[in-house]
């Protein structure tokens, strides 16, 4: 068994940013474990631009953004293992790892950073009825086949789901000469960023049908067509609204699920809402010394926020290792998401040991216009900010400063909510 101070599971944007931050915080014995054959994660297949506006103040493609962090990790001499899959994380931070070179081995870590990302929800999760022919892809699979492997995956396309990957693939397939006939969205609003609706659909004249879903898939060998229908407020198809589209390809962009199988194995407490671990302001999970960041913690819309969050996980893990893993006295307060706020990350703040400020990220449950985002310390409203539009597709945040808690020594609960007035 080998030993390392910090083992980072995942060499995507989260894992890399966490590694760089941990190194800068003074920990030299770091190991990144990546299951793919190169670092960078899903960014490598995101060849469109728009990455890095916050972090680097310029527009990069996914591979370019990834390359910046890969360079940082390499110039910091942070070791990593590629084509290496973690099979198990035990409660006492033993990581079972498999690859061709080392075979099966166990690594003992003082601290672990979970940065495994997320996966796409498959067709089955929606129980879309019909045949099961070739030509049905999750948008990310099609993206990989097109952008990394260089194949075309279809000529006439219908896309279900208006998450960002679906929107971006609508443009991508159009640029590759395919005809994208329609993007259907079950919800009355898009799940993706507004800018992607404009740049990927509107600019190419691709219609977006809100409150619509696929109610049938035809084709015994390859997809030959699909039927869309409008749905009512209970998301049930409305008879008489059926519309048939001939196509050879159906792309699904119907939601991302954090990949937390390993976290569960490690006994980490999970949130039902985010499908990621419950974390405190240092991004530590309920298992001491195990931290989480990036899309494995909660699904982000911008990689810039992933990097920022991951850097916090990296410095927190470094601090944990340096403090010889000892537990400090704490005054932990729970964050409560209410009235249209679906969840917060972190879910807890340790007022005793927190940094000068904590960024609390969250998503709202529906599209709201002219609403306030409010923060309450117990019953006192401490912040009240008006937003013209709030949408589930766009992540929101509030920043809580340490000195704002000075006047609340007995604080029991922090509420983040939306308010009409």
């Amino acid at each position: 068994m080998t030993e390392h101070d910090i083992v980072i599971i995942g060499g995507g944007p989260a894992g890399l940013a966490a590694a760089v931050a941990a190194k800068k915080a003074g920990i030299t014995d770091i190991l990144i474990l990546e299951r793919e054959s190169c670092l960078g994660g899903i960014l490598n297949q995101c060849i469109h631009n728009g990455f890095g506006l916050h972090t680097f103040k310029e527009e990069l493609t996914g591979p370019e953004y990834a390359a910046r962090y890969i360079e940082m990790a390499e110039s910091e001499n942070i070791p990593y293992k590629l084509n290496t899959m973690v099979l198990d994380i035990s409660k006492d931070k033993e990581v079972t790892v498999i690859n061709r070179e080392d075979g099966l081995s166990t690594i003992k870590a003082k601290a672990i950073i979970l940065a495994m990302g997320c996966r796409e929800r498959p067709r089955g999760a929606l129980n879309i009825p019909g045949y099961r022919p070739a030509g049905i892809y999750s948008a990310g699979t099609a993206q990989r086949l097109m952008n990394i492997e260089g194949f075309s995956v279809g000529k006439e396309v219908v896309i279900l789901g208006s998450g960002d990957i679906g929107l971006i693939m609508a443009r991508r397939m159009t640029l590759e000469g395919a005809k994208v006939k329609v993007v259907a969205e079950l919800m009355p609003y898009s799940g993706g960023l507004k800018r992607n609706i404009v740049q990927c659909l509107d600019d190419y004249g691709i219609p977006l049908k809100l409150s619509h879903t696929v109610i049938n898939i035809e084709g015994k060998d390859r997809v030959t067509g699909i039927t869309l229908a409008q749905v009512d407020e209970n998301r049930k198809p409305i008879p008489g609204t059926e519309e048939y589209y001939s196509c050879d390809t159906l792309l699904l962009s119907v939601g991302l699920i954090p990949e937390n199988e390993l976290s569960r194995g490690a006994g980490v407490r999970m949130s039902q809402v985010t499908s990621g671990p419950v974390v405190g302001d240092q991004l530590e999970t309920s298992s001491e010394g195990i931290f989480a960041c990036g899309n494995v913690l909660h699904v982000h819309d911008l990689v810039d926020y992933v990097s920022e969050e991951a850097a916090l996980a990296g410095t927190s893990a470094a601090a944990y290792v340096k403090a010889a893993c000892e537990k400090k006295a704490a005054h932990t307060v729970e964050l409560s998401a209410e009235n249209g706020v679906r969840y917060t990350v972190p879910q807890m703040i340790d007022l005793e040991n927190m940094e000068d400020k904590v960024t609390v990220r969250f998503r709202v449950a529906d599209v709201y216009k002219d609403r306030f985002i409010s923060v309450y310390y117990d019953d006192v409203r401490v912040s009240h900010k008006k937003k013209k539009v709030l949408a589930p597709g766009e992540m929101e945040q509030v920043v809580l400063k340490k000195d704002s808690f000075k006047d609340y020594p007995e604080l029991k609960r922090i509420v983040v909510c939306t308010e009409v007035e």
Binding site: E101, R119, A125, R132, A134, F151, S152, V153, I217, P237
Partner: protein, 478 residues
């Protein structure tokens, strides 16, 4: 066009055709299995409840009753010989009302008559003690400890590989279009040429009536009965440990809830008669029906963890029993028709029965060198840490995980492709080693599995199909 001669030609590479092939391979005969798809286990055998029925359901004296009980008894030994997964987890038939208890007792008595051992009737509380997620509405249940679950792919492929290892030839992508009686036997005209066979065994599933009716004046009719299923993530797999049936009662015919041998939870099937013999499309109403019915007996089923839904076809014959044996007005033509539930359980016994009939008719003698065993694809996850580490040292391909959800390595996928009757399609690989069968449903591994398949079979990525020709995954190279 090819022209081929065999002593015996089996139409259909499903579990029944493969079972017959394997048993017939014990005799000195030249045998072929003709399969219209690209692989065995591509029709009814691939999409069903995967249950080893105890045998209390069928009418005493029926062929279904006889072969079910025989098949159940054979399955354990067969699973060892052919190295496929089977678990005798026991089954429960839930009864929801006091009024229905006489019907439950009738089922018990039928079971006794059919020769099912170990049956008992449990009270609602006894059932809930065994299965904490069984609902409060259950008043009693029939417990059958001999009930089990099986990997239907492993069973069918195991039979096929063993048959092949014993000299049976498999002709894929070959569809029988016409059967003509000849002096010596039958001519089977396929799209690929003509197969002359002295004996024909009809194990064509939902198409069995078509072939029977080509040679016999006594027509039969197979009704295609479609059943939709939901398959839940492995996280839901321990929700129940027994196979839970529901006694047909006031609310109608229930559905089953069962763990699978791979640790998933399976719910279904519905029952809808359809015209299309390839109508495996799922239906929104059928899917919601089975979910509604499942919760009569089992509470808190985490439907949110559904990873796929699918539909299977049952070959229901009007007489409601299996049709087995030589056709009275077509000498040398043998039927294994109308094999609906409990067909999977019965298949091993049907295999022996039909093979013996054919061998007797052909006056064939037994081979001396029949290989009874077949080694399954090595599953490294079943090895100890040390053994698995050793394996990777010897063959590093076992150290590369391709399907992350199911933990399937490159070594296993290569084995699935290169062994006897190896997989030629993504579905073929999926059924052999479960790559793509997990919670992401091949989202991550499909491109990598395709690459391995293309490499090992010397084809291009564009040639790789999901299953039969025409189901190509990518449409071109840029």
């Amino acid at each position: 066009m090819m022209e081929m001669n065999y002593d015996a030609a089996i139409i259909g590479g499903g579990v029944v055709g493969c079972a017959i092939a394997r048993e017939l391979a014990r005799y000195d005969l030249s045998i072929c299995v003709i399969e219209r798809e690209e692989d065995v286990c591509s029709g009814t055998s691939k999409a069903n409840s995967a249950i080893v029925h105890a045998g209390f359901d069928a009418t005493p004296g029926s062929l279904k009753a006889r072969f079910n009980v025989e098949g159940n008894r054979m399955m354990g030994e067969l699973s060892e010989e052919l190295d496929f997964s089977m678990i005798q987890n026991g089954s429960l038939v839930l009864c929801f009302s006091e009024e229905d208890i006489p019907a439950l007792k009738k089922l018990y008595e039928k079971g006794i008559k059919n020769g099912v051992t170990g049956l008992s009737i449990l009270s609602g509380d006894e059932v809930r003690a065994m299965e904490p997620n069984v609902t409060e509405t259950v008043v009693a249940a029939l417990y059958a400890p001999t009930g089990g679950i099986v990997c239907p792919f492993g069973l069918t492929i195991g039979l096929a590989e063993n048959a092949c290892d014993n000299g049976v030839e498999f002709l894929f992508n070959t569809e029988v279009k016409v059967i003509e009686k000849t002096e010596k036997g039958y001519d089977l005209k396929t799209g690929e040429g003509t197969i002359h066979a002295s004996y024909v065994i009809n194990a064509a599933g939902v198409y069995a009536d078509v072939f029977h009716n080509m040679v016999s004046e006594k027509k039969i009719h197979i009704t295609v009965r479609k059943g939709d299923y939901c398959l839940l993530d492995k996280e839901a797999g321990t929700h129940v440990s027994h196979t839970i049936f529901q006694l047909p009662g006031k609310m109608g015919k229930g559905v089953l809830v069962t763990p699978t041998v791979h640790g998933n939870l399976l719910i279904g099937p519905s029952a809808t008669d359809v015209e299309d013999k390839e109508g495996v499309n799922t239906d929104a109403k059928d899917l919601s029906d089975i979910m509604e019915k499942a919760v009569w007996g089992v509470k808190n089923i985490p439907f949110r963890q559904t990873i796929t839904s699918f539909s299977g076809l049952r070959a229901h014959e009007a007489g409601d029993d299996f049709i087995l044996g030589e056709v009275s007005d077509a000498a040398g033509f043998f039927n294994a028709a109308g094999i609906e539930s409990p067909g999977l359980t019965s298949a091993p016994a049907i295999g022996v029965y039909i093979a013996d009939l054919v061998a007797e008719k052909a006056k064939a003698s037994r081979k001396e060198n029949f290989k009874t065993t077949r080694k399954g694809i090595l599953d490294p996850q079943k090895l100890s840490f040390e053994k698995r580490a050793e394996l990777i040292k010897k063959d590093p391909r076992y150290g590369t995980i391709i399907c992350r959800c199911e933990g399937v390595s490159e070594g296993e996928i290569v084995d699935a492709i290169t062994r006897t009757l190896g997989a030629v399609s993504l579905d073929g690989i999926k059924r052999r080693v479960r790559a793509g069968m997990g919670r992401c449903q091949a989202g991550f591994c499909a491109p990598r599995t395709m690459e391995i398949l293309a490499r090992e079979t010397d084809r291009t990525m564009e040639d790789i199909c999901k299953n039969r020709p025409g189901s190509n995954i990518v449409t071109g190279h840029k």
